[in-house]
Subunit: 225 residues, 2 copies
DNA sequence: GTAATAGTGTCTGTGAGACACTATGCC
DNA sequence: GGCATAGTGTCTCACAGACACTATTAC
């Protein structure tokens, strides 16, 4: 049996908005020569500390970010004989959405990299740019019929901020009218009563209603396809 | 490290319509005393024969059905320290849709069991009834916005047969009018020109357009929620 | 006041659902 | 012919999208 536990890992694609752009969390690795110098947060299952795979994902991620992400979801498990030269390998891929609050305590070895597909290909080791692509595909799909956008925003945000999430993830966004209608229906958001003041008319600041889980709508936005 | 490869398995929840009811494929195990006597098709990765996890799933399933299923999809990977008394275990769960053609060559140890949740709890060993539930949840959800129903039908089928799939899976179905509008749009189905004759007006027989993959629609049926 | 962004009113389009209707087979 | 199931016509409803409109702030 050439499959051993050294080749089982949980890899996390953590997304975050940095200056309005979608970024991916990466960890520096010892660069030897021309090799790419980054990898995704990843690690082995700790049979003692981890009660479940979700625990493994949370633990790996928190090692770098020092806080619990607002949303994680398993994407897929990949296993094949090609990806690792040592033989059969098994990778459970997660993605995580990190809220873009100001305070952040990243580990020194960690850094946010723009999620641009081409750039990542040159920067990420192993087949990690492919894992990012798969996680991104899922995010791009799910953002269109769920409340996921709010998990990329800070605690308090405006409806325009949601528009910004769509732009960052999909490079296009539904009209504000549609975002408004969708996100203000139900008990999804709570109006904090506070306003975001800028150079123009202030916008209402909302926060997530913690009573409600990530919500699934029953239609896709069409303008984003 | 108490996690070893003996505890990695690929488990398949294969669905099929038997006399209009949703069934799940099970394999007989040596019953010792009062224990349940069935388990899901499952097995280990064969690092030599399997190029990928999908291969493992296909191989395990074909051992029992002797034919390739029309549709498989990975549901989730479960890992925790509770499910197997020997320690940490990892299970990659797939579901498969088997077309309900007449000819079938089941292995002697295999049998179709009604997918009724309560009944399965008493019949399936380990936590397999929970795996069925998770696969069924996915199927119930996805059937509402995809062309999956056709993968549970024989090669030639009528639009009423699709209605029957919804009834079997969800215990309710969209109106025929809606099924018609949805499934006859695009190039999803091909009218074979043949008719299914019964005691009443014959129905047009359709087949799947092999050019088109499993199709995703952009709205859920509402009557099925 | 003007500029700029927030937010509303309302019309159109699409597809699900309701339901009455017609069509075509078996007996 | 009657009956049963197949299939159509068409109205309503819900929600995405388009777009003109009003509202509220900074300056």
């Amino acid at each position: 049996m050439s499959l051993n536990t050294a080749l089982i890992s949980v890899d996390i694609v953590a997304f975050r908005l940095v200056k309005g752009r979608l970024n991916v969390l990466a960890r520096r690795i010892q660069a030897d020569g021309n090799k790419p110098e980054w990898m995704l947060p990843a690690g082995k299952i700790d049979p003692v500390r981890d009660q479940s795979l979700d625990d493994t994902a949370y633990r790996q991620l928190e090692l770098l970010t020092n806080k619990k992400p607002g949303y994680i979801e398993q994407v897929v498990t990949l296993g094949d004989s090609q990806r690792d030269s040592r033989g059969w390998s098994l990778t459970i891929v997660y993605y995580a959405l990190i809220d873009s609050s100001d305070s952040e305590q990243l580990a020194p070895s960690a850094q946010w990299l723009p999620s641009d597909a081409e750039a990542l290909k040159g920067q990420l080791a192993y087949d990690h740019s492919r894992l990012v692509q798969q996680a991104l595909d899922r995010l791009k799909s799910k953002i269109q019929y769920s409340s996921l956008p709010v998990y990329l925003l800070p605690e308090h945000f405006t409806l325009s901020d949601i528009h910004g999430v769509f732009s960052a993830v999909l490079d296009k966004a539904p009209p504000m009218r549609s975002i408004r209608n969708r996100f203000l229906q139900g008990d999804l958001l709570i109006d904090t009563g506070r306003l975001k003041r800028g150079s123009n008319r202030p916008a209402a600041l909302y926060k997530v209603n913690q009573d409600s889980e990530a919500w699934l709508f029953d239609r896709l936005y069409i303008s984003t396809r």
